[in-house]
Amino acid sequence: MSLLADAFTVICVVAGVGFFAAGTAGLLRFPDTGSRLHALTKADHLGLGLIVLGLLPRAEALGGAFRLLAIWALVLLASAATGPLLARVAQRRDPSA
């Protein structure tokens, strides 16, 4: 059981780190602000979600698991709200994009 949980943790964390790497690569390599925002919000928050998911079996109690989920929910909420705002600013400054 614990071996299974550990394997789950490893797979999720490795996948999460992969998404972080992909997000950063997109942030560095994509040509314009709009697509960079896309790389950021998608890959980044999926990456954090996978890491939170992977760490859930290791949370010491219900409180710890709840805190992990709360962190993810807060980041999702923040990025859902700020993403459109940032995109609007980027469009205003750079009408060609």
Binding site: A70, L74, L77, A78, A80, A81, T82, G83, P84, L85
Partner: protein, 304 residues
Amino acid sequence: MIVDLALVAGILALALGVLAARQAFAAVAFFIAYGLLLALAWARLGLLDVALTEAAIGAGLSGVLLLAAARRLASAPAPEDPPSGRVTRGLIGAGCTILACALGTAVLLLPEPPPGLAAEVAANQAATALGNPVASVLMAFRGLDTLLESAVLVLAVICTVALAPDDGWAGPPGAPQPLADGPLALLARLLPPLGIVVAAHIFWIGVDAPGGKFQAAAILAAMWLLPWMAGLVPAPPVGARALRVTVAAGPALFIAVGLLGAIVTGAFLAWPPGFEKPLILLVEVALTLSIAAALALLVMGPRT
């Protein structure tokens, strides 16, 4: 070890970026990222109380304050001093290099084991009935520092309000905020309840683990600022009695309890034995609310 070197390299790059930036906006963006990395550095050093404070104040409130200032200065720049000449700059550079090298040498040449007060704190911590040694230092062993610090915040609020021009005096603090729509208005309605719960959590664990009143107060201040920034609620006028009482109540209660200690035990700010924990918690709650109100007013700034 490699982790620390990567963090240090990042922090140095951002610090150089702040110094070399051409536009104020870019410099402030670097400074915000610098605050975030600094919080991670404090966590790596194992100073988690400091890391929490830096995360709340350095990466959170400072960003709001400085970005708003950069935006307002972009349309109406403040007067600048004439730039110093090349020789002067060289001399300043040399002096600063010498200072940095001397400090670095001092850090490397610290005696082994370095002098510290950890043993004294450990020996006397039980008397404060708090599990977090930093909280013991803040509230008991160096209580006067904490009292004076909250007084500094009150003074800073008075200064900031006094800087408002005559027609802005006694109005609400800060520039009026445009009404938000869509996502920001939603966030400003959803986040504050969650944030207040988080602040209460951070305050409560601060009794026995890293956390505590400054960190909780910074989060509370941010939660008050958010609906204001979204234009959902106006800031209350500075003259509002409730606001003034809130800002002053924490330090006043701290002084009152300190005087009580002077009467009961004969020393100012000494906690009466047997009542340490409830009294400390009472003062901490009052201080948290006062610091939160003061921080929010400071970030809003004077009405101009």
